[in-house]
């Protein structure tokens, strides 16, 4: 729907700006994002995101259920990276209730989260490339993503909404042969990333569409509270796995890739390198994983302390996923707020797309890597 701006003599060439509705049912908005655009020809002058089409009141539901029954709700927020949402929630509840996880459970969690990071980045790469016009990487990415989902299925029976963690530890031990399959996947994954990079990294069209597009200076990124690969693509060395290590990340070796030019292409490079590092972490986990318990000792009646509040966050595939939980002395959280990385990242979109071309909007939405389930909660 378009409407010419009111002018005194509306001729074809006097029309300066027009309003354009982008989404919510547009495939390149990655869900139900709606943007109200003011365009001047091909240039975007103003962008106003309208969200909430997927709002399910998750935070209200959190206040209804005991701590342990809330884990499935977290699956449905970032539905393509459920394991990391599970971990963020379980970590916050553990901090509130004072549980400490056994080392074997920590390793299982880290493996699940790194697999999840790879699968999330693969889905991002596949859809981002399709948005820009490269169809082929999609098939390569989904080939490997399928194997990861199979690994998840073997562990917990689900492929997307995993519900694979509990406050205090892990619900199940690893199935027989799972570690071997995981090691096999991690060993060959580097070659797979080479394949994706072969298709894109030095591709002239890919570079033309991404280099210098959506530049996000580091100070702006920090001001907006942007986290994850978006922040590291702007050259800020901030990774919660390194800066505030949780679970067993302090025992593992990995690098934090950083971008230099703060553009879409650098963020692509950062995410691709992150996938390689995740595979490296997986290999180490398979070697180092100890035997032993997978669940901590839990009291029969689980109650939080009175007037207690905790904030705990982890590094998810999209950035910092945090939970702010207030305990009132009962078994139900009084308040459970989610710091959703996509929600925080998306608010910088108007600034990122200002005065860019309409075609680049699609590339920029792709590079922010948002999941509307998490934005709207």
């Amino acid at each position: 729907m378009s409407e010419p701006a009111a002018t005194d003599t509306p001729t074809l060439f006097d029309v300066k700006e027009m309003e354009l509705n982008f989404g919510p049912q547009h495939p390149s908005t990655h869900g139900v994002l709606r943007l109200k655009l003011k365009v001047d020809g091909e240039r975007i002058r103003e962008c106003y995101p309208i969200i909430g089409y997927l709002h399910r009141g998750t935070e209200k539901l959190f206040e209804l259920h005991p701590f342990f029954q809330n884990v499935p709700h977290t699956d449905r927020m970032d539905y393509i990276a459920a394991a990391t949402s599970n971990l963020a929630y379980c970590g916050a509840v553990e901090k509130l209730l004072g549980f400490s996880t056994p080392p074997r459970a920590q390793y299982i969690r880290v493996m699940l989260c790194e697999l999840q990071r790879i699968s999330s980045h693969l889905l991002w790469l596949a859809t981002h490339a399709i948005d820009i016009g490269a169809m082929t990487p999609f098939f390569y990415c989904f080939r490997e993503r399928e194997q990861i989902l199979d690994l998840f299925e073997e562990y917990c029976g689900a492929r997307l909404t995993l519900n694979c963690m509990r406050p205090g530890g892990q619900p199940y031990d690893l199935p027989i042969g799972w570690l071997d399959q995981c090691a096999e996947f991690a060993a060959k994954f580097d070659a797979c990333v080479d394949e994706y990079e072969g298709l894109l990294t030095n591709n002239r069209i890919w570079k033309q569409r991404t280099v210098g597009i959506g530049v996000l200076p580091p100070e702006v990124a920090i001001d907006y509270g942007i986290s994850g690969p978006m922040l590291r693509g702007s050259g800020v060395n901030w990774d919660l796995r390194k800066n505030r290590p949780y679970e067993c990340y302090h025992e593992l070796e990995f690098d934090v890739p950083l971008g230099t030019n703060c553009d879409t292409y650098d963020r692509y490079l950062v995410r691709v390198e992150e996938m390689r590092q995740s595979a490296r972490i997986l290999t180490q986990c398979v070697e180092k994983i100890p035997d032993g318990a997978i669940m901590c000792k839990k009291p029969r009646v689980i109650k939080s302390a009175k007037e207690t509040e905790v904030y705990s966050s982890i590094e998810g595939p999209k950035g910092e996923i945090g939970f702010y939980i207030v305990g009132d002395g009962t078994a139900i959280p009084w308040r459970c707020h989610v710091r959703a990385p996509s929600f925080i990242t998306l608010q910088a979109l108007p600034e990122l797309v200002k005065d860019t071309l309409l075609a680049d909007l699609v590339a920029i939405i792709g590079t922010t890597d948002i999941v509307l389930g998490e934005v709207d909660r």
Binding site: G52, Y311, G322, R339
Partner: protein, 280 residues
Amino acid sequence: MSENDRDPKSDAEEKAPEQEAEASDEVAAEAEDEAKKAEAERLAAEAAEKKRLAAEAKAAAEAAKPIWERDPSPPTWSDADDDELVIALRSAFPDAITSARSFEDLTLVVTREAVFDLAKSLKEEHGFTYMVDVAGADYPDREERFEAVYHVYNQSTDRRVRFKVSTDEDTPVPSLTPVWKGCNWPEREAYDMYGIRFEGHPDMSRILLWEGFNGFPLRKEFPVEGIDTGSAIYPEYYEEAQGPISGDGTGWKVPKKPPVPPAEETAAEEASTEGSDSDA
């Protein structure tokens, strides 16, 4: 442990004869009472000692266990009045911080009047440049029921600080969007969910719910099953939280203010706008 077991017994044995000797000086009847009393005391002391030992043994066994088999250790809050940052902030903004406590993160309760300047100083002088999150919270029993909770990082010292401002239903809170741009949407969300108004916010409108939604869903009194959206869309025709399908269970309920002529108009208008939408 075996040594510990022996000690209290011998102590008790030593005490007992002394007390008996004292008792022998008194009248015989009183002496009997005294003896009984002493015996009871001795037994009580023994029992207490045993209890203490058992507790000690349990604690030792607990400490020998790996951390995940121990009893949970819930957060322990400590006073943070002597924290350097709190002292610095208090000297710059006297009376601004009403309470400071800490468990992993420093938690400050800040007055509404001072929060903007304090936030500015946190960002510009103390290096808390990274905005993490803004959350609303509702405590209906308090005098000022709502709380806006801010989390900020200092990336160079890896420190996280949480500060809270309380307010009631009518009083606005100063918006911190001019300080950290990232507060924009989270503050809008707090407004959307709780009705906390932020003064000085560039765009104080609903964000997740639609404009015109009647009520604030994260307030504690808001029903979890939701309200009939009839009143949310047509507040002028339906009582609050009422609508065409709620009420006596018979299904349709006659609205309190029958929308006879205006309803047709709006319906017609709606149909026409919908039509034009779908055409485009």
